[in-house]
């Protein structure tokens, strides 16, 4: 009898997770959203606790660095003021040229800032949880950025929390181009905080240090978002393609706030 009970218990431990794995994806998604919604208030409180502790320790460290930092910032300020003047001129010129060529401006239909309230262990998967969800206007497939740098896209939404797939995750695919030479490729996550630009032509004009930007060919991602810089280029002896390892522009280990943007996603869904 004990033996039978033991066999049943073993079967349950193995069968339950496996049967959940085989459930239809909409059921799995609903279950995950239920978990997310249940725990989102706790995660927000944890984030406040974490940032409070962070601020305290950073404050102490920053005090020691303040003098040098101040001197460096003064110099940088002067340099940036000059640069700003030039950029304003360039912006005006750019606007004039855009009008002249009848270019469509990159339109962002919706944007909302969000804080990162959770992240996974980073061993196999690279996702973060943000404190904005359906009730804040966030929708699945929206693009997530930090400044002008690409972070990832929303893959699951709860009521007040959403899951963001980072560009370094294995499941992530983004159309990308080399800014200097306009060579096209597909950016794939490679974990270990790296990405790979695949499907470059064999004789692609790409070199170490080149900036990679989004091509705008992937739905939901605007064109021109910085992705990262080329670390090294691999050209195989045979084959049609070459590929390059990319160091992302975003420091995914330290990122705390992001911006969720809708680049015409809702419009395309309604069409």
């Amino acid at each position: 009898m004990i033996r039978v009970r033991r066999v049943v218990a073993v079967a349950i431990i193995i069968v339950i997770p496996l049967s959940v794995l085989l459930l239809p994806s909409f059921l799995k998604e609903n279950a995950e959203i239920l978990f997310l919604n249940t725990f989102s208030p706790v995660m927000k409180v944890s984030r406040v606790m974490r940032s409070g502790t962070d601020r305290f320790f950073r404050g102490i460290i920053d005090l020691f660095k303040a003098k040098d930092e101040n001197r460096r910032l003064l110099l940088e300020n002067r340099k940036l003021s000059t640069e700003n003047l030039h950029l304003k001129e360039a912006q005006k010129e750019n606007a004039r040229l855009h009008r002249l060529l009848s270019f469509d401006e990159t339109k962002v239909e919706f944007s909302t800032p969000a804080r990162i309230v959770g992240r996974d262990s980073g061993r196999w998967y690279h996702t973060v949880l943000i404190d904005k969800g359906f009730s804040n206007g966030v929708r699945e497939g929206m693009c997530v950025v930090s400044g002008a740098d690409l972070v990832g896209k929303v893959i699951q939404i709860g009521n007040k929390v959403s899951k963001v797939l980072l560009i370094i995750d294995h499941h992530s695919r983004v159309g990308a181009i080399v800014q200097r030479s306009r060579e096209n490729g597909v950016l794939e996550g490679r974990s270990q905080l790296l990405c790979r630009l695949n499907y470059l032509s064999r004789n692609a004009d790409i070199k170490e240090g080149d900036l990679i930007i989004s091509s705008g060919l992937t739905q939901g991602f605007p064109k021109g978002l910085a992705i990262g810089n080329v670390m090294n280029v691999h050209k195989e002896k045979y084959g049609l393609y070459s590929y390059a390892d990319i160091k992302p522009a975003v420091d995914f280990g330290k990122i705390e706030e992001v911006l969720v943007i809708d680049h015409g996603l809702e419009k395309s869904e309604s069409l």
Partner: protein, 156 residues
Amino acid sequence: MITLKITILMAFIAVLQSAILNFYPLFGKHTIDFICITVVFLSLKYGWRRGGYAGILGGFFEDSFSSAVLGCNAFSYGIVALFTGIVSTVLYREHLSTRMMMVFAGSLVVYGINMVFQLLLTSGVTFSTSEVFQSAILNTAISPFVFYVIEKIRID
């Protein structure tokens, strides 16, 4: 009552790991797998059935907080509980070194199963064996502190 306490403990550890501890990786890249350590501890102390329950529950939490397919981690932690239960019948399980050894083996089992799932479900996956071993060693090194804390909670 113990089941309820285990449920609360696993939910607490999953949230703590996702919302706080994963933000501070050791040596910039290794996060400690507190769920695995807890599952091993519970399996050794309260038997593999309770450990298995804790593993499945903790795994479901971890799956829903990450991009993993729901059930993937639940399965791997369930197997860790079973494995720990089976091995512990032939080992002296009260000694700290045995517990630490089980955490090391359990971590490798979790990584191994995750690797298989990744290879089956995702294309172009790369993994480094040395990193897997480093993470397992770190889990093992941290485990006495986690054991101490859980022991203090007094689940029974």
